[in-house]
Symmetry: C2
Subunit: 415 residues, 2 copies
């Protein structure tokens, strides 16, 4: 088959592999693989004006710079992933003293999180290589996104989860018709089993920090940030700072990859500053960044922001580099600040889950510590809907008063 | 002030009122008011080709045929309501033996339900008439939509709820910064109190079946169905049948109003057939339709589809007419069919709450009873995200098996 990319490179040892030579991580050292496009060939055919499928209000508008072929399935939720809105919340900007603030909201995605981007590309890749079953270990947004995108495209999905996973999350996966197997063990055992089964049954594995195509889906958010925000900045503007919540490190790596693609193509003049934000209670990548090395040491994660609660991030090295190589940084914020950010975003009509509000909490801290200046343009990535974790919202807001059903009681309460 | 509509008419007695003369229902008989546009003036300026603000991928593209002025608030969630996707689920169409089936999915709306359409227009109307506080009695999608849209526009929202309302739903309202007052009483007392307070404090009331502008927001879905589906039907196609879930009757009335506007403007050749679907356990409007009258008799509602669980629908008369006047009908479906429809929709990647899946359950019944023919084009309205009621999803799907963490156990289970 003809592949739409040139080769893979290992992010650790730099080894190069032909498209057919490997499927997941580097055979030598287990490093995450980067998918390298044929930039010269793309540049010969396209430029910034003509490479987009303009009528498609989804990530598929960028098909010409994606490493997969057109996945068909027109008129299904698979074709609706991405091209998410960018808000300009004037009241928050004013509150923070920033001249230009955007929030990119991923909740309108089909399964209400950023993860649909990765699953859409993995589903397309599975079709290309003839894989009939896609498997993952996840009970969270990644599992939901795989189940939803597989359903949309009519692909079989099998999802492994520890038997202790919350029944409500499991129900969402089954609701999309995925086959869910609850493993009598912990998450790591479910993860390992998913990989063992992948090899034994020739399934295709979507696991984050393992399958190189998840980052290729996530990079599309960088293309959108570029098209929706950066291309419209005045010429004399300072460089854009992008705040991204970080758990296993694959979102920030994917977005960095998208910007790197645009630089390699010569289509983007200046690399934005990428600022990763972790919960203080789950900060393995931020710790490595602060130490100034790339060694990701496991932590015992304790944050309530479960989508970014990770003991040993599986895409940590590239995540450290995303900040290092762009003049960015890492910040950590405590759970109270994460809950506070849910309420702040809610007050301008944006409903965020804790992992998503973490990025905004990071911005609040960055402003206080003068890590961003008032005239720096800033974009915050809101990765998932508050409906994903209503319990956290309940912890973020005060309770309502109970009153007698009379006008007097109302007036008294409002005074 | 200059209003963007001509007058109100009472849906019961037909009385006409100047825009300034009334605010909510008919002073004579309490009938719901229709907002009547100046069709002649619109027609003098616009036609089907030029009336849309094309760059705006939201209901605001129809500003020229809405009874409110431009609400500003560019770059906020208020400007993102509507223009929801229409799916063409080939597998479901095949299963039902239909040649053309569309599902319009309202879950990408900012608060993940159809109700954002109504709240967006009510917020715009409030700004126009100088109302500083918008009030409603609702703990469900309408309350959430009001809270979200008010937050987006910086308007104050006060929401009354019975003190027995689920804390998770209350938290969503407070999360958007709404002032929530829990009434020591039942829902009817909360509703009545909201109206008493509206009058005493000169607030603006959003209650459904009371404020005439909610239907004006909901009508925008009809415009979209027309633009996204009807305008693309081949000339020799049969008439479109539209399946709509019905609770208090305001969605079906609003959509009917949208189609009536298009007919009055001479822009639409043929009125679609409107088919209302109620839960068997909450069928006050379907009952009236089946009896052949417009008298809405209260029921004791028992359905699990809580967004359409209504004892005495407040917009029942217009809802009966929506089916009567379009050659449509009403169907009722039991809760088991509603749950079954959640699973059916999930298998093609569409995640619906029970009220939303009710319309699809109605279509399944209509096909079985030959109320729609295989060559009739059909559109089903999916009114809200399954994330709104994950408990119902848990009831709709089987549980997952628990296995040992071994390859053998996986293979055995999948056999």
């Amino acid at each position: 088959m003809k592949h739409k990319f040139s080769h893979f490179t290992c992010s650790l040892c730099g080894a190069e592999y032909e498209p057919e030579a490997v499927t997941y991580t580097c055979p030598k050292d287990g490093g995450n693989l980067n998918v390298i496009l044929d930039y010269k060939a793309i540049n010969a055919q396209y430029n910034t004006q003509n490479f987009m499928h303009l009528p498609e209000a989804s990530l598929w508008r960028y098909l010409n710079v994606l490493p997969v072929s057109d996945p068909g399935n027109l008129g299904t939720p698979l074709r609706r992933v991405g091209w998410t809105p960018v808000y300009k919340p004037a009241r928050l900007a004013q509150q923070l003293g920033l001249q230009r603030l955007w929030i990119k909201d991923e909740s309108p995605n089909p399964t209400a999180s950023f993860k649909d981007r990765a699953s859409a590309i993995v589903v397309a890749r599975a079709a290309e290589i003839g894989a009939e079953v896609i498997v993952a270990a996840s009970t969270g947004n990644a599992g939901s996104a795989l189940a939803g995108m597989a359903a949309a495209s009519g692909t079989k999905a099998v999802i492994f989860a520890p038997k202790t996973a919350p029944p409500a999350k499991i129900a969402q996966l089954i609701g999309f018709g995925a086959r869910v197997l609850l493993v009598d063990g912990n998450y790591d055992q479910a993860f390992d089993l998913s990989i063992e089964v992948t090899q034994a049954l020739s399934w295709y594995n979507r696991n984050t920090g393992f399958n190189p195509f998840t980052a290729e889906g996530k990079k599309t958010a960088a293309f959108e940030i570029w098209e929706q925000v950066m291309c419209r900045l005045p010429a004399d503007s300072k460089n854009l700072a992008v705040f991204i919540p970080v758990g296993d490190g694959n979102i920030i790596s994917g977005i960095h990859k998208g910007f790197k693609d645009l630089m390699a193509l010569g289509w983007m003049a200046r690399m934005p500053r990428i600022i990763g934000v972790q919960s203080t209670g789950s900060a393995a990548i931020a710790n490595a960044f602060q130490r100034g090395d790339e060694e990701i040491r496991a932590v015992r994660s304790t944050t309530l922001a479960d989508s970014i609660s990770v003991d040993l991030p599986r895409d940590g090295v590239r995540a450290v580099r995303a900040a290092c190589e762009t003049g960015g940084t890492y910040l950590t914020v405590p759970d109270e600040a994460i809950l506070g950010a849910i309420a702040e975003l809610g007050r301008v009509g944006i409903f965020a889950e804790p992992a998503a509000s973490t990025a905004y909490a990071g911005l609040v801290k960055a402003v206080a510590e003068k890590i961003v200046e008032p005239d720096e343009p800033v974009l915050v990535l809101n990765t998932g809907s508050g409906l994903k974790d209503v319990n956290a919202v309940m912890r973020a807001v005060p309770t309502a008063p109970i009153i007698e059903p009379t006008l007097e009681a109302v007036i008294k309460e409002l005074r």
